[in-house]
């Protein structure tokens, strides 16, 4: 594991993330233009979706894929329940904020997943193509359980005055948010086009991938560290939980992955998915459904603490655990 961890810290991908965090820490004016950052996130989702689809076109669908998808959906739905309980007891959050934060931890971070794929690939631990479908499936259930948990805690359902319009908007945001559409859509396109159709677009979506990931992680490092610096709502208890959750959820994911018999790379990937916390799809849904919740808390925890922790340490730890449990 040492050499792996070491190679993690000599990989440009990780080094650019560190550069971004350092630049924000010293308050440099460096910033990546917002529309360009957004475009890169779209690119990454399409690229990962396509590659997963092409892999499935090669390997065919199997029972493994179904069981991994079911496991992912159940984990995404279940994790918020104990996360929310811990947030209330240890983190001292009210039910509303606890539910909102918990939704982020049940859901997933695409970039954490993508970085894990790169790190696992460098260690000769291939991840099954269908894991992209698992990733897409895990985006949503956590939002539902998070809302259930938060709403239980609200005296009157302030969301209910929203009327049909707001309800529709919310359902669309939950089930048809950009991440889900891009991941599933390009997964299916990859599966239809297959290796031959993919060949034409490979230079953009495959060859250029790691470079774009560097640029994107530079930006994420900037955003994560700046947010932490400016945050007012983070207590030490919450910061500790933001490190504890990925360890806990990652272990759970690895255990389930090994239990349903996935290959080592995919076991680690499922662990990383559980360990990661959303900061793209879920915050938008929470702003819409729970505007009273404090965005300062959930974004600082998921983006500023859990995300860097996973990139720098979590992925390596989970990979080590997956190797230990699932062999190779």
């Amino acid at each position: 594991m040492e050499s792996a961890a070491l190679s993690t810290f000599t990989s440009p991908v990780i080094l650019f993330f560190v550069l971004g965090m350092l630049a924000a820490a010293v308050r440099s004016e460096l910033s990546i233009p917002e529309p360009f950052a957004k475009a890169m996130s779209i690119y990454l989702m399409i690229a990962i979706g396509l590659k997963g689809g092409v892999a499935v076109a090669k390997s065919g669908l199997g029972i493994e894929m179904i069981s991994a998808m079911v496991a992912g959906a159940v984990l995404s739905f279940a994790i918020p329940f104990y996360v929310s309980a811990l947030l209330r007891r240890i983190g001292r959050l009210d039910p509303l904020n606890a539910g909102a934060v918990a939704a982020h931890y049940g859901s997933v971070s695409v970039v954490t997943y993508v970085t894990a794929i790169e790190i696992l690939g460098a260690q000769a631990l291939p991840v099954a193509g269908y894991m992209v479908a698992v990733l897409a499936v895990m985006e949503t259930p956590a939002i539902l359980s998070g809302l259930l948990l938060a709403r239980k805690g609200m005296a009157s359902d302030a969301g209910s005055d929203a009327g049909g319009h707001a309800r529709d908007d919310l359902l669309r945001e939950v089930f048809l948010n950009a991440s889900v559409v891009l991941l599933i859509g390009s997964f299916i396109i990859g599966a239809i086009a297959g290796p031959d159709g993919f060949a034409d677009v490979q230079p953009l979506f495959d060859t250029g991938f790691k470079g774009v990931l560097c640029l994107f992680l530079l930006d994420m490092g900037l955003l994560a560290a700046r947010r932490l610096r400016e945050s007012r709502s983070i207590t030490w208890r919450l910061a500790l939980l933001a490190v504890g959750f990925p360890l806990l959820n990652g272990t759970l994911g690895v255990l389930v992955g090994a239990g349903i018999g996935l290959e080592t790379g995919s076991v680690a990937a499922l662990g990383v998915l559980c360990a990661s916390a959303s900061y793209i799809a879920v915050p938008a849904a929470m702003r819409m459904a729970l505007p009273q919740a404090d965005a300062g808390i959930y974004l600082a925890m998921s983006l500023s603490i859990t995300f860097p922790f996973n990139i720098l340490f979590g992925i390596s730890l989970i990979t080590w655990l997956a190797r230990a449990l699932a062999g190779s």
């Binding site: 917002e34 529309p35 950052a37 957004k38 996130s41 302030a158 005055d161 929203a162 009327g163 319009h165 707001a166 908007d169 945001e173 930006d219 994420m220 955003l223 700046r226 400016e230 945050s231 007012r232 900061y279 793209i280 915050p283 938008a284 849904a285 702003r287 819409m288 505007p291 009273q292 404090d294 965005a295 300062g296 974004l299 983006l303």
Partner: protein, 102 residues
Amino acid sequence: MVETVLRKRIEILADSPLVRRVTAAIDAVGITGWTILPVSAGKGREGLWHEEHVTGTDKALVLTVASLDKAAALADALAPILTTHGLLLTMWDVEVIRGNRF
């Protein structure tokens, strides 16, 4: 000088995901139109924010011009959610040309 009439101009600052909520309220009270302006950063009681397209930390300014009574109806409609939804509303008199439009 061309004849002008008085109308109310209302501007509402809202989180991007809540903008549809605001414009639905404008439509509901029968105002003919609205326009959305981007905003890039701000500070309030909840601290600093910056436009971040990736995490969706965005706000927008909804601007609408309406007759006095429709403006009042809109203010009434939004008042209950101003605090919970973190909206900022300002309203003032403006002159417009061909006021029958509003």
